[in-house]
């Protein structure tokens, strides 16, 4: 097949590829945003000095970081339907939809990683600054809100950016539960055209482009939040 023909073939499927891209972006975007909110209490509890508060987030993080996302996805999508209670509950209309299962799994998965990033960031806040805040008469809560969290966000942001890109790549497995994300669309096109080499390369190129765009975006955000400046003053 000559190049022009290949391009014509890709062009024919552009609308579907675009839809797939939107599904991927939607899933990843929602997962990393909601995941951040789930991760905040997890990360705070994980950094606690009491072992009984640490224990629960620790086991959560251990489970979600120690098993493959594909397995977690199957556990949620196929697994929980094993229980009659779940099938009778009001949640069933959501839990039988691949979209919600994929979103729930990805959110819980990424929350575990983000919680670890948060814990690392919180523990990297110089203790002198926290003590200074306390000495100025801030309550523990105020110190957390005005000193520790803004500082931790800047320390953890580069790692959070990496996590978003890792989630983007990890999201490629959701086609196994019939989601029509980039990979889902590519698989459908492949079974119609048999052009496996061509369309897997297209998939790779699409992910690569999204990765590059994300990297640049995070670089901008880092500049906007002056991540470098806070690093120098340490």
């Amino acid at each position: 097949m000559i190049l022009a023909e290949k391009w014509a073939l890709i062009e024919r499927f552009l609308p579907q590829l675009w839809d797939g891209t939107l599904v991927t972006l939607q899933l990843v975007g929602l997962a990393v945003l909601i995941g951040l909110f789930v991760a905040i209490p997890l990360g705070l509890a994980r950094a606690s000095r009491h072992w009984y508060i640490r224990a629960l987030p620790y086991s959560y993080i251990f489970f979600f970081r120690g098993t493959p996302l594909l397995l977690q996805l199957f556990l949620v999508y196929y697994g929980i339907s094993q229980f009659q209670v779940v099938r009778d509950s009001f949640l069933w209309p959501y839990l039988r939809e691949p979209f919600w299962c994929a979103l729930i799994t990805m959110t819980m998965h990424t929350a575990a990683y983000i919680a670890e990033i948060l814990r690392g960031a919180i523990q990297a806040v110089p203790p002198g600054e926290v003590e200074a805040a306390r000495a100025l008469g801030m309550s523990k809560r105020q110190a957390l809100q005005h000193i520790i969290l803004p500082r931790a966000i800047r320390i953890g942001l580069p790692a959070y950016g990496n996590e978003v890109i890792l989630m983007l790549k990890a999201s490629a497995v959701v086609y196994t539960v019939t989601m029509m994300d980039i990979m889902g669309v590519i698989r459908t096109i492949n079974s119609r055209t048999y052009e496996y080499e061509l369309f897997f390369m297209v998939a790779g190129a699409m992910y690569l482009i999204i990765t590059l765009v994300f990297t640049q975006l995070f670089r901008l955000v880092e500049r906007w939040l002056k991540v470098d400046a806070s690093r120098q003053s340490r």
């Binding site: 120690g66 098993t67 493959p68 996302l69 977690q72 556990l75 697994g79 339907s81 897997f200 790779g204």
Partner: protein, 230 residues
């Protein structure tokens, strides 16, 4: 203990396959990583460009895509190659394709780990080697490599744990490892939760075991060194 309905041995076979796959991939991947890092720190502009291209392209594309691409995307190429030598049905087995794909991804990340480790070795040692009249290869083999291992080990350990979880993706190209065995058991017993949870338990067990092994290796590699403590 849940009733496994006779699927226990199958799951054990799957576990063994996962272990074999991860070890095969890590061996090839370490080689890729060493080659990549050598290319990236080399004086040759072309080699540096190639190394940079390798890490940025491979790390920007999902592991799932690599696994599927290497398995399905090479069929016609290998058929053509095989036909040339008289084996028209020649193609990659799921094991070989999975090993290559995972090694490729592991290697790209390992390149960065090795590069960091290479830069951590004082250049004075290399110069000392040159002054003693050692060849470049001998300097690498006798001076750099033994120290590289010690510096790179923690990073490589993390990458190996990631690789272990990525082996589940090879179930998508029909290799009978834990994930696929659990899937088969789940389908025929209609108890998906039980078997997927069991598979998760196996992955966690392997993770803990590897973490212990890495700890032992790190201690061994660091004997004779004083650890920086805060």
């Amino acid at each position: 203990m849940p009733d496994l309905q006779g699927f226990g041995p199958a799951l054990l076979e799957g576990t063994w396959m996962t272990i074999r796959l991860s070890l095969a991939a890590v061996s090839v991947g370490l080689l890729f990583g060493l080659l990549g890092a050598s290319a990236k720190v080399s004086n040759n502009v072309f080699a540096r460009g190639l190394g940079g291209f390798y890490t940025s392209v491979v790390r920007g594309i999902p592991e799932t895509v690599w696994v599927l691409m290497i398995y399905f995307g090479t069929v016609s190429a290998f058929n053509a190659l095989g036909a040339y030598f008289g084996y028209p049905r020649f193609s990659l087995s799921p094991f070989v394709a999975g090993t290559l794909a995972l090694a490729l991804c592991f290697g790209a990340y390992a390149t960065e780990v090795f590069r960091g480790a290479l830069l951590a070795i004082p250049t004075g040692q290399k110069e000392a080697g040159l002054a003693l009249g050692l060849s470049n290869w001998r300097i690498f083999y006798r001076i750099t490599l033994p120290q590289l291992w010690r510096v790179a080990l923690p990073g490589l350990g993390n990458l190996y744990l990631i690789l272990l979880k990525d082996t589940a993706l090879v179930s998508l190209i029909t290799l009978d490892e834990i994930m696929r065995k659990a899937q088969a058991a789940a389908n025929s017993t209609k108890e998906p939760f039980t078997f997927y949870l069991l598979a998760a338990g196996i992955y966690l067990f392997l993770t803990v075991f590897i973490m212990g092994a890495l700890h032992w290796f790190e201690n061994r590699a660091n004997r004779g060194y004083v650890r920086t403590e805060l």
